[in-house]
Symmetry: C2
Subunit: 446 residues, 2 copies
């Protein structure tokens, strides 16, 4: 991990590091599939028109052009049919749902794990190419609120299975916030959310100023909005704290009810991992109800490792609306932190559990027979390519962390050596199996 990416913002892992990333991806896949999410992939490119549908993010997009474009072939950046790399998995998913609506069963639960690209200036925790792991449920026309509750629980389970420190999923609800702002007479609710979103960065005093200067709020209104944003509870007491502010509004009640449903189940099923945090705004994103953010405890400066929320219309097709709720895990950001902080490591650099050594160069084919016998029982095996001195063949295994070396004598008898303990015992290629913990690479907390 002393290495630096040779192209800034495009991290690459060494084999032993990649095994940690693969472990993370395997855990996520397994958890999502246990909860019935099915996998899709979308193409890496979208048209610029599709990507910019919601505006305000064009600065980050990588456009594509054929290096030797034909005469007359468009590469104009004003052209909405210009191809560009996707910058998240939500926009492509929305397009996929609309295109394939006739072939999908709704509510449609999918997970999607792919690279995305953003032409940002690279910095700690931000790469130009990175992997996201998304889960979403999307409905046709309507989508029960229970999915908002369920997704928080699935994500808590998925993150809880990873080799990372404690995390905290912070949940809020736009209806609650917007209803509250309206209840105190602030109608530009999007403007208030944008200001509240800056709370962690610029502090409460400055946000109060912004609300008064830019949105024309009174000191009392600014104070009330900040009081709401200061509420944060790991249990249901946020409800009483909001009520104590004395604001009544129908949308506020609806939001309170929704957030209560999430927190009530989370307290029971993921204790200590989910909090109601009424400061969470998710600035520019177009959520319409629940919003989620997640921090690694003690690593808050890393930013959110998993965010998302509810859209009334993730996608639409004429009058037909597809509401959705989903979350996106920043896999690369997490893996970078796991590796740099040594939260976990792989115990070898190759899948191989056994190296079959060669007694002489003619024994290669016989060694392949032994390897085939072992592989038939699911044991990852390599065969030495040359009959070097046994010391050198053992060193080959040792450098890679391969735990066992297999020897065959001239008389055809077999022995297997655990090169960590030095113990060498007779073994039968038809029946011998390594201990379960040595069969596959183990990724374990440091």
């Amino acid at each position: 991990m002393a290495r630096k990416a040779s192209l800034s913002g495009f991290p690459e892992w060494l084999p032993q590091e990649r095994l940690v990333e693969l472990h993370v991806l395997d855990v996520l896949r397994r958890t999502f599939e246990l909860h019935g999410f099915t996998n899709i992939e979308t193409r890496a490119v979208e048209t610029v028109g599709q990507l910019l549908r919601k505006g305000e993010i064009d600065k980050e997009v990588y456009a594509l052009s054929r290096l030797q474009a034909d005469e007359g072939e468009s590469s104009g950046k004003e052209d909405p049919n210009q191809l560009a790399l996707h910058f998240d998995l939500t926009v492509p998913f929305a397009r996929y749902v609309v295109e394939n609506a006739g072939h999908l069963a709704f509510p449609f639960r999918r997970y999607q794990i792919q690279k995305v690209w953003r032409g940002e200036r690279p910095q700690e925790g931000r790469a130009r190419e990175f992997t996201q792991a998304d889960i979403d449920v999307v409905g046709d026309g309507d989508l029960p609120f229970r999915y908002d509750v369920e997704l928080a629980l699935v994500i808590a389970e998925a993150l809880g299975a990873l080799p990372i420190p404690d995390f905290l999923i912070r949940v809020n609800n736009r209806k609650l916030a917007e209803g509250f702002y309206r209840g105190i007479g602030l109608e530009d609710t999007a403007g208030v959310l944008r200001s509240i979103d800056k709370l962690e960065k610029i502090g409460a005093a400055r946000v109060a100023e912004l609300l008064q200067e830019e949105l024309g709020a009174t000191a009392e209104q600014a104070d009330a909005a900040l009081k709401l944003a200061s509420i944060r509870t790991g249990d249901m007491s946020f409800v009483d704290q909001v009520r104590a502010l004395g604001v009544t509004n129908e949308l506020l009640e609806e939001g309170l009810d929704e957030l209560s449903q999430v927190i009530a189940e989370a307290v029971k099923r993921a204790p200590g991992r989910v909090v109601a945090d009424l400061s969470i705004a998710r600035g520019l994103d177009y959520y319409t109800g629940t919003v989620y953010e997640t921090v690694l405890v003690g690593h808050e400066s890393l930013g959110s490792i998993c965010s998302g929320g509810r859209y009334d219309a993730l996608a639409s097709k004429g009058n037909r609306k597809f509401p959705g709720v989903g979350l996106s895990i920043g896999v690369t950001r997490l893996v970078m932190r796991i590796l740099s902080q040594e939260f976990a490591a792989a115990n070898r650099s190759v899948p191989t559990a056994v190296l079959v050594a060669l007694t002489n160069d003619e024994s290669w084919s016989a060694a392949q027979d032994i390897a085939g016998n072992l592989r038939a029982r699911g044991i990852p095996v390599e065969v030495a390519a040359k009959a070097e001195k046994f010391g050198k063949q053992i060193k080959y295994a040792d450098r890679r962390g391969i735990p066992f070396v297999w020897f065959t004598s001239e008389d055809g008898s077999h022995e297997v050596k655990d090169i960590r303990s030095g113990e060498q015992v007779p073994a039968d290629p038809q029946t011998w199996t390594p201990p379960a913990e040595d069969l596959f690479v183990q990724v374990t907390p440091a």
Copy 2:
């Protein structure tokens, strides 16, 4: 499969199709890991300078530029630091090996499964975005020939585990061909190879003309070169057939010996799947020994589904050379054919094995307890989101191919229904398990 990609050349799969692709990817990963190959990923972009190092392929490259580039930011296509998407996994792997040589254990065995992009005109079997699965072994300074033998066997095993028809790995050796051409007095061996490469497309008579017109060969020389290219045997008899042509050359002998090693082991370990085919030239690629191509029997027009070969120097760093041998499977091409020909299909569209039905809306949390019990034993489970009529809940499962629906009575007793047979039996959430064949999605030959 009546659907067309909404962007020509960028295929996307429906969930049930993606499950077939996932099965293919899982089989390949498992086979490669059983043989001790470790995984890496490289970034999607390289510099144009890196990509064009070997020349002649610039027409296919997609260049990148930030949609709103800063003033003075380069997007000149003449700039070797211009970023572009990789068009294969070999060039990035060679760069990765050189950059990380100090951190890798040689010989280094890796597999790599990623998307690649080519700005070609899309056509049957050719996409602009597609997935390749590569295995390579790369040495530091030297690399025993045995790896050329081993890789043919690993690929035969990997392809043999896929739901595809019979395939044939055609192997040749550049040393054999080049030695032969020199032995008959043709010195422009690259030129001869390029002509021979056109054999399948334009026929023997036209190739003979090309050899005479463009390379100044005599009619006898052209005839000899074509006789060599006509040799194709599933056993070792190619050796005698080559010798019968009466040409002697040291390089030819070396090539004959190498190809014999591959075929001798393949006859034994992968009978009927590997042939010596002396017409295989691999046109523009810079191989220096073994070359491989693979066709699906009865689907030859699809082109090669797996190709590769040996490089004396896959990469180099000053005087240090890294020879390599590897093969690349065209996963997308294979999956397209599997789906369009219905060679195999997934038996449901979601991972879910059990849907826990709701008796009333208040039972959702209790249903989550049941689901948690089942998941703890590795069973993929969904919980219904609404207490609709049981008929509707069963229909939800049926539309997705979910085989079991779980019911809990008001008195707390449990029953599980196999919705295919209609059989409904009492079940305990702590112990009930579906039959092994229903636990996970099955992808089976049609």
